[in-house]
Symmetry: C2
Subunit: 287 residues, 2 copies
C-alpha cells in the first residue's frame, strides 16, 4: 500500500469542492501553490471561463486532470431528448480531450425530470436501458477521440434523480457488456461516498482490476447525514474506512491519484485556504 | 396478480404510520372501524399500554398481526452489550408470540453508537459479523418459541446507524447461511422504500420465494427526499413502481398482507382519519 503521508504527489482536488469559493482559475492557482499535481474540473466551471483559457492555464501549471465532470444524463422522454443527450456527451468527450483529462466521468442520469422534482415516469428499467444505449453510442465516439469513459455508480439514495447506476457490480456488468475485451476505453470512477456501504465492495473492486479502475474519489459519510446531496464529510470526520478501501483498490492494481471530492454546505462557507489545507492534512493523515 | 381495488382484506397498517396521532389502542380501534384486518405494532407502542392489554384488544378486534417491530440492533462494543442485545431479542420473540404476530421484524443494527451520532468504530465488517452471530443465536430461541424472524434490509443510506444489512441479496445470503433448509423460521421483510432502487431486485425476489418472503411493506420514494429517515411518501406520490414490485412478489409465491408503513413528518401532522383514509384509497388505487 502506498504511503501518502509524506507528500501530495498522488493527490487530486475535484474542483466542485471549492465551487462556492473560487472560480476554476482560482482553484488551479490554489492547488499549484500547494504543489497539488492534479485537479478534476466540472463542465460549468470550464464554460464559465472558456475552454481555451482553462486548457492553457492547466498546461502552464503542469497539472494533471484526473477526470472531467461530467458526461451522462442519458435518459430522456423522447427521441429528440435522447439525441440531445448524445450530442452533449460527444461535446463533453471532445472537451475532455482538449483539456487532457484522463477520463470523462459519467453520471448516468435517471428518471427524466426527476432532478427538477417532476419525474415524467417511474420506469427505472427503461432509464437503465437508455443508459446502456447512451454509453454504447458515446463509447464509439470516445474510442475514436481517445478519451476513456468512467461510469460512476451513485449512491442508491440518488437513484431517482441523478443516476440509476447504483452499485459497482452494476457498473461493471455494464462495462463487461459494452467492452468485453477490457480495452481501457471503459471503466468506473469509484467514489467511497457512493459505495462504502456495499457488502460486495471488496469482491467487485477485485473484479474491476486495473483496467476498469479509472478514478478514485474520497470524502466521508457523516453520522447523521442531513442532506442527500450536499452533506458530505471531510475525510476522517465520518465512518468510511478509507485506508481499508484504498488498500483494496491498490491490491486490485490501482496506481492512480486519490481525488478529494466534497460537496458540503458546511465546507462551502469556509475560506478556500482553510478548506484546501484541511484536505491536504487529512489526505496525508487518514486517507 | 391479486385485485386489491375492491376491499381491504389484504391490507395491514404499520402502527408507526400513526404514531404521532394515536396510541396503539387508538390505531387498533381506527383500523377495526374501517374493516382493516391487520396491523404491525412497535415495541414501544405496546410497552406504553401493556402487553396483556394489547394482546386482549387485538384478539377482541379479530386483528391479524403481520409482524412485530422490531428486534435486532445486534452489534455492540463489548460482550456485555452483545449479551444485552441477545436478551432483548429473546424478550421480543416472546412478546411477538404472546401477541400472535406472524414474524418478528429484525432491523439489524450497525455501528455501535452511530444512531446517537457517536459511532464507537467504523468497522462495518465487524458489525456484519455480529449481526450474523446475533441472528444465529436468536434463531435458536425463535424456533423453539415458534416465531419466524424476518430480516429487513434497510436502505444503504441507513447503513451506518440503523442496519448494516442493505440489500435483499445480502439478507438472503444470511438466510441461506443460517437456515439452509428454508424451514420457514427465517426470511425477510421486504420494504419497497429500502429496496426499490436495487438493480437485482427482481432476481432476488424470485430467489427468495414463498418460504423467505415473510412480510411486504409499502410507501413511496419522494423526489426530492428531504430527510434520510422521516420523509417517506404516501403510495402514489413518489416514483416507486408499486404494482410491478407486487407482481414480482406474487409471482414468487407471496400471498400475504400488504403493509403500509409511512414515517413522515408531513403525514404525522395530519389528522389520523385523513391519513388512514388516504392509505386505504391509495392501497386500492395504486398499490
Amino acid at each position: 500500500m502506498r504511503e501518502l503521508a509524506g507528500d501530495v504527489r498522488h493527490l487530486s482536488i475535484n474542483a466542485a469542492t471549492l465551487r462556492r469559493q473560487l472560480t476554476l482559475p482560482g482553484v488551479i492557482e490554489a492547488c499549484a501553490r500547494r504543489g497539488i499535481p492534479a485537479i478534476d474540473p466540472w463542465r460549468d466551471q470550464v464554460q464559465a471561463v472558456g475552454l481555451a483559457r482553462v486548457t492553457r492555464q492547466v498546461r502552464d501549471a503542469g497539472l494533471a486532470l484526473t477526470g472531467y465532470c461530467r458526461g451522462g444524463f442519458f435518459p430522456a422522454v423522447d427521441a429528440a431528448g435522447l439525441g440531445a443527450a448524445l450530442a452533449d456527451n460527444r461535446r463533453a468527450v471532445e472537451e475532455a480531450k482538449a483539456l487532457g483529462a484522463t477520463c470523462l466521468v459519467l453520471v448516468a442520469g435517471a428518471l427524466p425530470g426527476a432532478l427538477a422534482g417532476r419525474p415524467t415516469h417511474k420506469d427505472i428499467g427503461l432509464a437503465r436501458a437508455q443508459v446502456h444505449d447512451g454509453i454504447a453510442a458515446t463509447l464509439e465516439h470516445a474510442r475514436r477521440v481517445g478519451v476513456p469513459l468512467a461510469i460512476e455508480p451513485l449512491h442508491p439514495m440518488q437513484a431517482a434523480d441523478r443516476a440509476c447506476i447504483n452499485t459497482l457490480e452494476q457498473a461493471l456488468d455494464l462495462c463487461d457488456a459494452l467492452d468485453p475485451g477490457r480495452s481501457g476505453a471503459l471503466g468506473v470512477a469509484l467514489d467511497v461516498y457512493h459505495t462504502w456501504w456495499d457488502p460486495k465492495l471488496a469482491l467487485q473492486i477485485a473484479r474491476a482490476g486495473r483496467e476498469r479502475l479509472l478514478a478514485y474519489h474520497v470524502c466521508d459519510w457523516l453520522v447523521p447525514t442531513r442532506d442527500l446531496v450536499n452533506d458530505r464529510g471531510m475525510m476522517g470526520d465520518g465512518v468510511i474506512e478509507l485506508k481499508r478501501i484504498r488498500r483494496l483498490l491498490e491490491e486490485a492494481g490501482y496506481a492512480g491519484f486519490v481525488e478529494v471530492e466534497i460537496f458540503s454546505q458546511a465546507w462551502w462557507t469556509r475560506p478556500a485556504d482553510a478548506l484546501l489545507d484541511t484536505c491536504v492534512e487529512r489526505y496525508k493523515g487518514v486517507v
